[in-house]
């Protein structure tokens, strides 16, 4: 019997045996609930994915097909993609988004891991104050900081030329949430291991880099993926800081693109596809890690 086979320990097996008649009844009911569960989930799932399919379907339709409604394209074409890529600066926006996300993710992975490790494994004067001082910044909404950040950026010329990459990235190069997360994860690294390395004469940086950090690789991977996605999709701050078309990130460029092609939905959907498909592919490839990471960090937080 499938149900009793799933129950592992002997004690519960006996209970299952004891309730055998009732089990038969509940199993039939179980079949029905399962069917309804699948049905409801499927309806919900369709609501979740239809917008994506509709976006992609629209992007491969020639303009006239949008007026004469048909669900699937009659003459699918990639012409919209060629038009959008030829008439806009999309390649540049991709590049900008990649550069900005790469700068902040690299920095976040390095510093959040290092600081989280230090806060977990070291004892030093002022530790609690520093920890509270870092965690306290989580209470401050970034919206409150955009005017000061913009003032500082103007002051230090971070809003012109290539320094704009730094200007867009700097607010997120170290994150309090990431430090907190990594601090939690280093709990699992045994102190004896670190002490043994100390006895062998390894320096503290080497101990962190070669011994402690590799042990929390899954957490680092989760941190890196979330950060990359977050920075890739960041909107308000890049919108404020980037002052010329060539330095827009994808979401900012996309937003301005809409203003230029108001009613050409096939173009707008093509642009939206171009902006979202790369990240959706990244998500599909790493979905297991991303979803597990979300669950893990959510429960730790």
């Amino acid at each position: 019997m499938a149900t009793s086979a799933e129950i592992g320990t002997e004690g519960t097996l006996q209970i299952a045996e004891h309730f055998k008649p009732a089990q038969g009844g509940s199993r039939r009911r179980f079949g029905w609930t399962l069917l309804i569960a699948y049905l409801l989930l499927a309806i919900g799932g369709v609501c979740m994915v239809t917008p994506f399919f509709w976006m992609i379907l629209t992007s491969v339709k020639p303009a006239p097909e949008l007026v004469n409604f048909s669900f699937f394209p009659e003459n699918p074409t990639l012409q919209n993609y060629l038009n959008v890529l030829n008439t806009s600066t999309f390649e540049r926006w991709y590049l900008n988004s990649i550069i900005v996300a790469a700068i902040s993710t690299t920095s976040v992975v390095f510093f959040d891991t290092l600081v989280g490790y230090t806060l977990n494994k070291f004892d030093f004067p002022g530790k609690n104050i520093i920890f509270i001082g870092m965690l306290g910044t989580l209470m401050i909404p970034t919206e409150m900081l955009i005017i000061p950040w913009f003032t500082m950026s103007v002051n230090w010329n971070w809003h012109i030329g290539y320094t704009q990459y730094w200007g867009i990235a700097f607010p997120g190069v170290i994150t309090a949430a990431g430090i907190f997360l990594m601090r939690q994860f280093f709990d699992g690294v045994p102190n004896e291991l670190l002490d043994a390395a100390r006895m062998d004469g390894m320096n503290e940086f080497g101990i962190w880099w070669r011994i402690a950090a590799p042990l929390v690789k899954p957490a680092i991977a989760a941190l890196a993926i979330f950060n990359f996605i977050g920075n890739w999709n960041a909107y308000l701050w890049p919108l404020i800081l980037a002052n010329s078309r060539e330095f827009y990130t994808l979401p900012v460029g996309l937003s301005f693109f809409r203003g230029e092609s108001t009613t050409h939905w096939e173009k707008i959907m093509t642009a939206a596809s171009l902006a979202s498909i790369p990240l959706l592919i990244v998500f599909l490839v790493f979905q297991r890690q991303i979803i597990r990471g979300i669950a893990l960090t959510g429960l730790k937080g």
Partner: protein, 301 residues
């Protein structure tokens, strides 16, 4: 003089923390103080200073709030409405989906991916796809309404429907996150609680109200606080779903952050915008404290 191991550890700790300490002081705490300072000044961002005007910016906001149909009044009342519509529907839907997902084995990963995909997509792209879905005449939803013989709806084009329509999109986008967290929480509840209750003759309804819901309380609090904060900060969706990004039609969708952006970076009334962000900060703080006080009761089994 030789340093003891502990002394050397302290030095290493400060070296490891140094960059992060500078970051949190210069990029987080100093701007926080500056944000309060800006709100008391007639701030000019390009000079990085401005004359002290005391409470004038706040008085101006107060006066604007007294005028009927002013942007500030609309922004605050709309923002509260986004929270009141969005957070409960998001939580109830997410819990329902998570409970269904906990029932099934097969295809579980497929559903999780489908429900989570919008969360990793840029809000700007999401806004455009839904603009197109909501479109009168040619939009997919209105075509569907036609098909089943219902009247077409204006959605984001009408002051009455625009805010609920945008809220629905925000729920659609953020749902997956709450589903994953709920699901992780449900899977953490020990199975023998249910077995014991079933032996005592509890039905599914009682199992849900007496075991699942009370044990999920910390997660419900966490998601309520997090969800509320994200709806209080709504910006990208509204800016890209309202005509010309103004929070229309007739200010019916504008939010506090959108007004900050418009006052600060379109009209360059930085002091006024700064005062708005300070008010937003206190609003978030207040609501978070109330929620934590109100919902946090420990459940021990």
């Amino acid at each position: 003089m030789r340093l003891t191991l502990h002394q050397r550890q302290i030095i290493w700790a400060y070296i490891f923390m140094s960059v992060a300490l500078v970051f949190f002081v210069v990029i987080r705490w100093y701007p926080t103080i500056l944000a309060f300072n800006v709100s008391f000044r007639d701030w000019n961002v390009f000079e990085g200073s401005g004359p002290w005007v005391g409470l004038e910016n706040y008085q101006e906001i107060w006066q604007d709030a007294g005028k009927p149909r002013s942007s500030v009044t609309a922004a605050f009342s709309n923002t509260v409405r986004y929270v009141l519509f969005g957070v409960p529907s998001q939580l109830v839907l997410a819990l329902a989906i998570a409970l269904l997902l906990a029932q099934i084995r097969r295809l579980s990963a497929v559903f999780r991916v489908a429900y989570f995909a919008p969360y990793v997509t840029s809000a700007v792209a999401v806004a455009f796809v839904w603009n197109w879905l909501y479109q009168p005449e040619t939009g997919l939803i209105n075509q569907g309404l036609d098909l089943v013989g219902l009247p077409q709806q204006p959605f984001t084009k009408s002051p009455a429907q625009a805010l609920p329509s945008i809220t629905a999109v925000a729920v659609w986008q953020n749902l997956g996150f709450a589903v994953i967290i709920f699901l992780a929480g449900i899977q953490q509840i020990p199975g023998h609680y249910y077995e014991a209750a079933r032996i005592d003759g509890a039905n599914a309804w009682q199992l849900f109200w007496r075991i699942t819901l009370p044990l999920l309380n910390p997660i419900i609090v966490y998601l309520t606080v997090l969800g509320t904060i994200s709806y209080l900060r709504l910006f990208a969706l509204v800016q890209n779903m309202s005509p010309q990004g103004t929070g229309g039609p007739l200010k019916s969708t504008t939010t506090v952050v959108l007004e900050v952006y418009r006052e600060g970076f379109s009209s360059y009334k930085m002091g006024y915008a700064g005062a708005l962000t300070v008010l937003l900060f206190f609003l978030i703080l207040l609501i978070t404290i109330i929620q934590l006080r109100f919902f946090s009761r420990r459940v021990e089994y």
